[in-house]
């Protein structure tokens, strides 16, 4: 099981075995949304905030 440190609260976040790039994960400790920015090297960052708006 791959783990990574939550950039917000520092606790460990477990990644699903079949995690994909750009997947959104939630840190169970602080609840922040994280984005798997890249797989190798494994990197996560805070997921960008966006309200709902879509084109045609």
């Amino acid at each position: 099981m791959k783990r990574v440190e939550c950039p917000e609260c520092g606790s460990e976040v477990e990644l699903p075995a079949d995690v994909v790039e750009n997947e959104i994960l939630t840190c169970d400790t602080c609840g922040i949304e994280l984005e798997v920015v890249s797989l190798n090297p494994l990197k996560v960052a805070l997921a960008p905030e966006e309200e709902e708006d879509w084109g045609e």
Partner: protein, 264 residues
């Protein structure tokens, strides 16, 4: 002053619509073109890719090539077809996209939260966005000189890049910016339906504070965005939003006379 939005779906008789519209004064027309886009993009070997947002909105993934086809269909085929028909009916129409004179300006979405095969993901490189400014000076300049603006997405980002924006929400922002009394959205459905399968189940009246709930319960697909547009229009000072059918004879007049859904 009012704003009319006409959709791009199949089965709309644009000659009948223009005959009806030509009787009115002091309005801005906004139009879509989604069904044409799908048809022509597929013929050009670039069938549309749709994504679903985390809260259930479906929308097109707009990459550079799709945006070029988008310009061809919206700003080319649909816009100039409507301008030609209006000119032919004696209305001095002037067709413009949001790029022109930066009429519709806003922010390109940095990233989108979508659901793909059940996973929540961030999607980048989508040329879609939110409108935050309307060039009302240009629109008023044209209106004051007797021209009738016929507007279409795309909009333009602050960095000067074309972005795909939702036509209904464009119409809402334009109505707010021009301080229009009314926004009329005509599409392939006769109004907000209690039962989407039953065209007779039109909900005649919706109040401002019922909108959120109705987005969850009754609205499907693009109707969600129409209700969102209605909400933005009312919150921006527009007095009334009407949702009506675009098909058949005199669609605008029928909707103004109460056929369809009245939101205020």
């Amino acid at each position: 002053m009012f704003v009319v939005k006409i959709g791009g779906s199949k089965g709309i008789d644009y000659d009948a619509f223009v005959r009806d519209l030509a009787q009115y004064r002091d309005y801005v027309l906004v139009h879509g073109g989604s069904s044409q886009l799908e048809e022509i993009a597929t013929k050009l070997g670039k069938p549309p890719v749709f994504v679903t947002s985390v809260s259930g909105f479906t929308s097109r993934y707009t990459d550079r090539e799709t945006l070029e086809i988008f310009n061809m269909v919206y700003a080319g085929k649909m816009n100039k077809m409507l301008v030609e028909k209006l000119q032919h009916a004696g209305v001095n129409a002037i067709g413009l996209s949001g790029l022109d004179g930066r009429i519709l300006e806003g922010r390109q979405k940095e990233a989108l939260k979508i659901i793909e095969n059940g996973r929540k993901k961030i999607l980048r490189g989508d040329l879609s966005g939110i409108i935050e400014r309307v060039n009302t000076q240009l629109l008023k300049l044209l209106l004051d000189h007797g021209y009738t603006p016929v507007l279409t997405p795309p909009a333009i980002s602050y960095e000067g890049v074309a972005i795909n924006v939702d036509g209904d929400r464009c119409a809402a922002q334009i109505a707010v910016a021009l301080k229009a009394e009314r926004l009329v959205i005509l599409s392939n459905v006769p109004g907000l339906l209690r039962d989407p399968q039953d065209p007779q189940s039109v909900i005649e009246r919706v109040t401002r504070d019922q909108i959120e709930a109705f987005i969850e319960t009754y609205a499907r697909g693009s109707m969600k965005k129409k209700l969102l547009a209605a909400q933005e229009a009312l919150d921006g000072g527009v007095k009334e939003v009407l949702l009506g059918g675009a098909r058949g004879e005199a669609p605008l007049t029928k909707t103004l006379q109460g056929m369809g859904t009245r939101i205020c």
